[in-house]
Structures are given as structure tokens and as C-alpha cells.
Symmetry: C2
Subunit: 426 residues, 2 copies
């Protein structure tokens, strides 16, 4: 099926600002609560949210094989399980319905009343029920920075790093959509020079700038996914802030990996931008430094040119952009990650989420965490309000944004914005 | 509510063998497919499976506040979410219905036809939809053995081990019930003395003897569970074989922990034995070697005396018992594990599963993995058929069993039995 929804010449009868992340070429998928407290699956053009459940009930998806309630759900899991052919048919149809030259819905005031919402009339939810969350560690710059700081600058990359898209399991239950605040976590840390740990609030709360992809049902227990097929099982991408407590992490992570340092919260942007919408922004991945095993060898362009930025907004002050990075810096790409994940027969289901790992670029202003940007706190960052940050302060809001742009078309992710509250108290 | 279901003097009008794991004092919960291909929640007395959906429809739970379809589901999640008071009321009622002195159902042949099944008429399913799976590492003997083999015999325990119930996130999608076979996984390993990894079948497939507890909804994002309340949120326990590929693990696990070495399969016994049923078998946990932080200090007996055994059955041969251990050896107990898991505000939901980690005892024949039993393969185990095992061979079946016993009453878990098939091929 052709990607007619990507036609760069198409405009919509819905208003779209010039610098909007959501032109008619984007058509992301999300879940929202409407003003009537009904939960539904929707999309977005410009600043208009579109209720796909209502659109379907009114017959606008006629001819596409969809169950009656496919959009009247609190997650996209079933729709994603329908597979790529269905996603494409629906996305193409939405592009047609809202095309500037199509008057059918445009001239139907009654239908528009039930289908269209202003953004302030809806509340975005988590777009999928995430069965399993995996986080990779695929930026060579990030792995090198961390290795330099915590281990040996001369052997910053561990021996397995150039052979394996290293990853580990995260916690699904603490994945939250943009807008939900997070409390500063408490836990055990080992003070410098001490021999016994202490309990208290983490003093080194950090963000991690990541993106994550959402999968469809991919394989049965035992069955590996060949690398040529992996892309078929990727529905789309979101921005991910993988909150981290560096002092808790340092004390707990040996030998089984990070645990409480990570699982207090992971925030994602609420609109899933499809891989199809990102098609015009494909780029080559970085060249492999060492030969890779056959099962990880891929053909073609499997990375995407997605500009990323992180801003910190102190309470009652203007935000300061602290990092500019790009998804294309990832050394290991998504098809390699998904192939590696299943090479042992591990089953991947609809709604699973896989994070990239912190995306650091080659320059100091493109690092994806405060740990790296301030080099363990040694070089604090100046905020616009004159204050300094080594890590994230109570009541700071961390905002991540991402977008692709070429030839005047911009496809964006909106943002993931999360306020860090003080330690929880009853 | 009193635990009248635990009355040791009660007998049932259903036949129960003398050495059965499932006397009327047990009343575990599970999910099964019936001969009519209907999925339902059930329990078991002796070798009779009891359809709780049918029992409820016929009015046997009158007076207990339950939704009509609470047992007509493919998982126990909603029932578990109803909370401890409801579990107890239902378990007590089941004990009354099947009490030898109660003739109501006993004399109703029609009702019995729809409610009771022979074990060969049903097919056990996964009892819960597991949202998140966490695996701890709480046996001091296991951690010491592994530390001795792979790191430094003089500093076998890492500095954090005596302070933290160390744990990490596992994969939910590959958790399977007893009876489902597993393929030998493939992956990357680094041959001894080599500098580059190779790809191929794991040569060191191992079991890990564990138990796991299943939780109910415990807390919201940000909210820690105090240790005095933790027990309220534990529904019950199952046997867990946490399959491991030791050669894959060794190469991949630094620095983020085990990943593909573990997530190809984890097998559990299908009947969840409630914490209530285990009440008579409470014992003290091992004495703490070092002082523990306040949030991990508990009162009372929080461990359970559960005998555990592992057997290996080569194809077409008799099984050989290779390990006898006990759940009571766990250095960190369940309330400490659950409290630690949430101290940073990580949310725990109904149907989450938390594994104990390999349960090794103090003697060589009580170790919970082949890695330890054969000391990395240096001391192969003799099977009854004359063959030897360093690790698990293709077509071997690994069987784990567990039971409590005192004063003539035995409460057991049945078994988790899993055959290891050769590498997957299409």
C-alpha cells in the first residue's frame, strides 16, 4: 500500500500553524479523554484533536476491515495488533478526509461537533498498555562518556559494547504520559568515603533523553525475527525521558543492573508518530567501528534524522535549553535492537516499548543527561534566571521535544514535559 | 476474618490421597480450559478441579460481594485486585462447600456435573496476566557461590548485598505455565581465550530453583509501602524455574545485568497457593549478618518452611532428584523485597510477579542451579540412567516441586515441569 498520507503537497481544511509538529503529513495516534469523560483513540492535525472512535461510528472508515470498537478503547494495543496494512489504510484515509479539497466532513457541522476537539478540551493518556519495557544503551557517545567517568577513560567501552546492542528490562508500571509529575525518589546511597549506606532522598536526580519505539505482535515463544523483517513490527516512536537517580544507581547496580534508580518513573510523549510518517527522514546509521555478527547485518537506511532538544524550566521562570541532540547518532538502530532482542526466542507483543538509551551526540552541548552535560556536576549549567544546575532541582520541569524537517515539511513529536516534585509525603 | 479454611481437622467429601499437595486446607487458585473449551478460574481439591465460575453462577458464593463475571475470566488479576478480605471469604466458603459434613453440593449430581472436572479434562493456563516481573537475588548461599566462582572467593558478596535485597527487572512476555516446552536459545558468547564473540546455541542452559509471589494493587506512583503493610499485598506463591543460559549471561551482563540469558523463558507452577494457606508454616528468616536500614526492619516470622526439590528427567528415562532446598533459606524475605521495591515510589499492581532468586541451601546437595551443583561443570551429576549432566541436555525435562508439612497436614504447590527442546527451526 502506498504512503499517500505522506504527500508533501497536501494541505488540510483544518488550520495548521507554519511551525506545527502536526501537519496533515504526520497523523500520529494517541488516546485521550474527551470533555464528556469518554476515552477514545484519536489523532491530531494542527491544534485540533480528532476522535477516531466517532469518525468510525459515522462511517468514515468504510471499506477498511476494522472491528466496530477498535477505536473505542483505552489503549492502541488492539489497533496496533491489526498490523501495518491496517495502520496504513487508516492513516491514508484520515489524510483524505481532512484534505483541503475534500468537503464531506468539512461541510458537515453536526459530524464535526462530535469528531473535533480543541486541545484544551481533552486530556492525553498513555497511548498503549505497555506489556514489557526494554531499554537499550545504544549511543556510543553516551556509553563512552559514562565509561570514562565511572570506569577507565582508556577502556571506556566495555568489550561487549561494539558487538551487542546492550539492553536491559525496565519497569512498565511507572511509565507515565507527559504532564504527570514525579516525586523525587528516596533510597539507599553510599556517601563518598563511607563504608555503610544511608537512606534518604536522592540528591542526583537526572533526565535521560531517549526515544522509544512501540511494537506490534512479532513472534511466538522460541521464534527469532530475522533482521530483514524487523521493521514490519515497529509501529512508531515517542519521546522518552528515562528518569534516573544517579546516586541510587551507583550503589545498587552491581551485578544485576539499575533497578530503583530507574523504575520510579519514565515519561513519554503521548502521540505515537508512525514509522510511515518518518519515511522521508531516513538516514544512514553511523559506520560500524568493528565487524558485527551476521544476524545483526542490515541493508539500507535504518536510522532517522530527528532533532531533539531538552529544556529545564525552574518554577516561575523561563525555560533554558540545555541539550540539542539527534536520534541519528544512535550506533545501534531499531532493527538491530529488535532482532537482537528476539534472537533467543523472546516473544515481542503489541504495545511493548523499547527505549534507545540516552542519545548523546559528539559535542558537549549534545549530551543527553545532566550527568554528562555537567560532567558529574563538575561544570554546572547556567539557567536563564541566573541559577545553576548540576542535576534537577525540586519543582523544575524537564521538557523534551523532537522533530524532523526538510523541504519545508516538519513532522514532530510534540513534547514530554514532567515536573519533579519534592519527596512524597502522605 | 478468621482463616477457617485452615482448620486441620476438616476433611472433604472429595477424595484426597494421603500425600496429595491439595487437601481441603490448601485451596489454591488457577485458570484452566475445560473440556468444552471454556476458560475459567478454578481451584483444586485432591485430583479434582473445581470450576469457580460455575460455582458462582449456581449461587454458592451468595453473600460475598463479587461481580457476576469475576471467575469467568482468563486471569486472576481482577479477583486478586478485590483484596485480601475477598480472597479469604471465598477460600473459607470453598472449604465449607466441600466439607465432608456438607451435603448440599455433594448430593446435587447435576451441579457436580458442571462444577467438577478430572485433571485430564482440563488444561492449566498462566494464572495471572503478569504486568511486571521482578527477580530478586536473595539467597546468601547462591550469591556467595556465584561470587566465589566468577569473582573473588575472599570477597564473594559484593558490598551492597548485605544492605539491599538486590533485584532486577525480568521479562513478562516469556513467562509460561508448567508443561510448555522451551527451545534451547541461541545468542552471542565469548569462547574461552577468544577476543571476538561467536553466534550459536547456548551450551550452558541451566535451571534456577526459585519461588515467586503474586501481588495485588499496592500503591500509586510515588507512594512507598511501609514494611508493616507489605504482607497485605501478597496474594500467594508459585514455583518458578528461571531458565538461564550461562554462557550468554557471562558475555552480555556487564554493565546493565542479564538480558537474553534469562528472557527466553521462565516457567511457573499453575496453582497459586495463598499466603493464608501457608500460615501454619511460618518460620524465622536467617539472622541478619549486618544491621539493616530502618525501612527494611520487620517484626515477626516472615519466612515459610517450604521444602523444594529439583529433578531432571532425560528422555525416555526415570527422573533423578538433583537438589533438595527450602524457601526458608532466603536471607531477604518477601516483605523486605516488596518494601524495598516501592521505597522509591515504584507502583506495584495486581498480577505483578516477584521471584526470590535462586534458592540455594547451605549444603552442596541443596544448591538451586546446575552452575552451583556441578560447580561450573567441574563435577558432573550422575543420572539414574547412567548418563552425566554438567548442564541441561536437549530433551531433558526439569521438574520442580514444593510442599510444606507438619502434624500430618501437607500443603503443596504441585510441580513446574518443562522440557528443553533443541534449537528452534522453522
Amino acid at each position: 500500500m502506498p504512503l499517500s498520507a505522506n504527500n508533501p503537497d497536501r494541505t488540510s481544511w483544518l488550520h495548521v500553524d507554519k511551525h506545527s509538529d502536526f501537519p496533515i503529513q504526520n497523523i500520529p495516534f494517541g488516546v485521550f479523554l474527551t470533555r464528556d469523560d469518554i476515552i477514545t483513540i484519536g489523532t491530531r492535525i494542527g491544534d485540533t484533536a480528532i476522535d477516531l472512535g466517532a469518525l468510525h461510528q459515522l462511517g468514515y472508515f468504510e471499506g477498511i476491515p476494522l472491528t466496530d470498537d477498535i477505536f473505542l478503547q483505552d489503549s492502541l494495543n488492539d489497533f496496533i495488533a491489526d498490523g501495518r496494512k491496517t495502520w496504513r489504510a487508516v492513516r491514508n484515509r484520515i489524510a483524505e478526509i481532512f484534505d483541503a479539497n475534500n468537503n464531506t466532513l468539512k461541510n458537515n457541522t453536526k459530524h464535526k461537533e462530535t469528531i473535533l476537539f480543541r486541545l484544551d478540551e481533552i486530556e492525553m493518556q498513555l497511548p498503549v498498555q505497555i506489556g514489557d519495557y526494554t531499554d537499550f544503551y545504544s549511543s556510543i557517545e553516551h556509553a563512552t562518556n559514562v565509561g570514562t567517568m565511572f570506569r577507565d577513560p582508556d577502556n571506556a567501552l566495555l568489550p561487549n559494547w561494539l558487538h551487542i546492542p546492550v539492553g536491559y528490562h525496565g519497569r512498565s508500571s511507572s511509565i507515565i504520559p507527559s504532564g504527570i509529575p514525579v516525586h523525587r525518589p528516596q533510597g539507599q546511597t553510599l556517601p563518598n568515603g563511607a563504608s555503610e549506606p544511608v537512606f534518604g532522598p536522592s540528591r542526583l536526580v537526572d533526565f535521560e533523553l531517549e526515544m522509544a519505539f512501540i511494537t506490534t505482535d512479532a513472534n511466538d515463544l522460541g521464534e527469532p525475527i530475522p533482521i530483514d523483517e524487523a521493521e514490519e513490527y515497529i509501529f512508531g516512536l515517542v519521546l522518552l525521558n528515562d528518569w534516573s537517580a544517579r546516586d541510587i544507581q551507583k550503589w545498587e547496580y552491581v551485578p544485576l543492573g539499575p533497578f530503583l534508580a530507574k523504575n520510579f518513573a519514565s515519561s513519554i510523549s503521548p502521540w505515537i508518530v508512525t514509522l510511515d510518517a518518518l519515511e522521508p527522514y531516513r538516514v544512514e546509521s553511523p559506520k560500524a567501528v568493528k565487524p558485527q555478527l551476521d544476524y545483526l547485518k542490515y541493508k539500507g537506511k535504518k536510522s532517522y534524522d530527528i532533532n531533539l532538544e531538552v529544556a529545564i524550566q525552574p518554577e516561575n521562570a523561563k525555560e533554558t535549553v540545555v541539550s540539542n541532540s539527534n536520534f541519528k547518532y544512535m550506533y545501534w538502530n531499531m532493527v538491530q535492537q529488535l532482532t537482537h532482542h528476539t534472537v533467543n526466542g523472546c516473544p515481542v507483543n503489541s504495545g511493548d516499548m523499547m527505549g534507545s538509551g540516552t542519545i548523546s551526540g559528539p559535542t558537549e552541548d549534545s549530551y543527553g543527561s545532566m550527568l554528562e552535560l555537567t560532567w558529574r556536576g563538575e561544570k554546572p549549567l547556567k539557567m536563564k534566571d541566573g541559577s545553576e544546575r548540576k542535576f534537577i532541582n525540586d519543582n523544575d520541569t524537564v521538557i523534551m521535544r523532537g522533530y524532523c524537517e526538510n523541504d519545508g515539511t516538519r513532522i514532530g513529536f510534540g513534547e514530554v514535559s514532567t515536573k519533579l516534585l519534592p519527596v512524597y509525603s502522605k
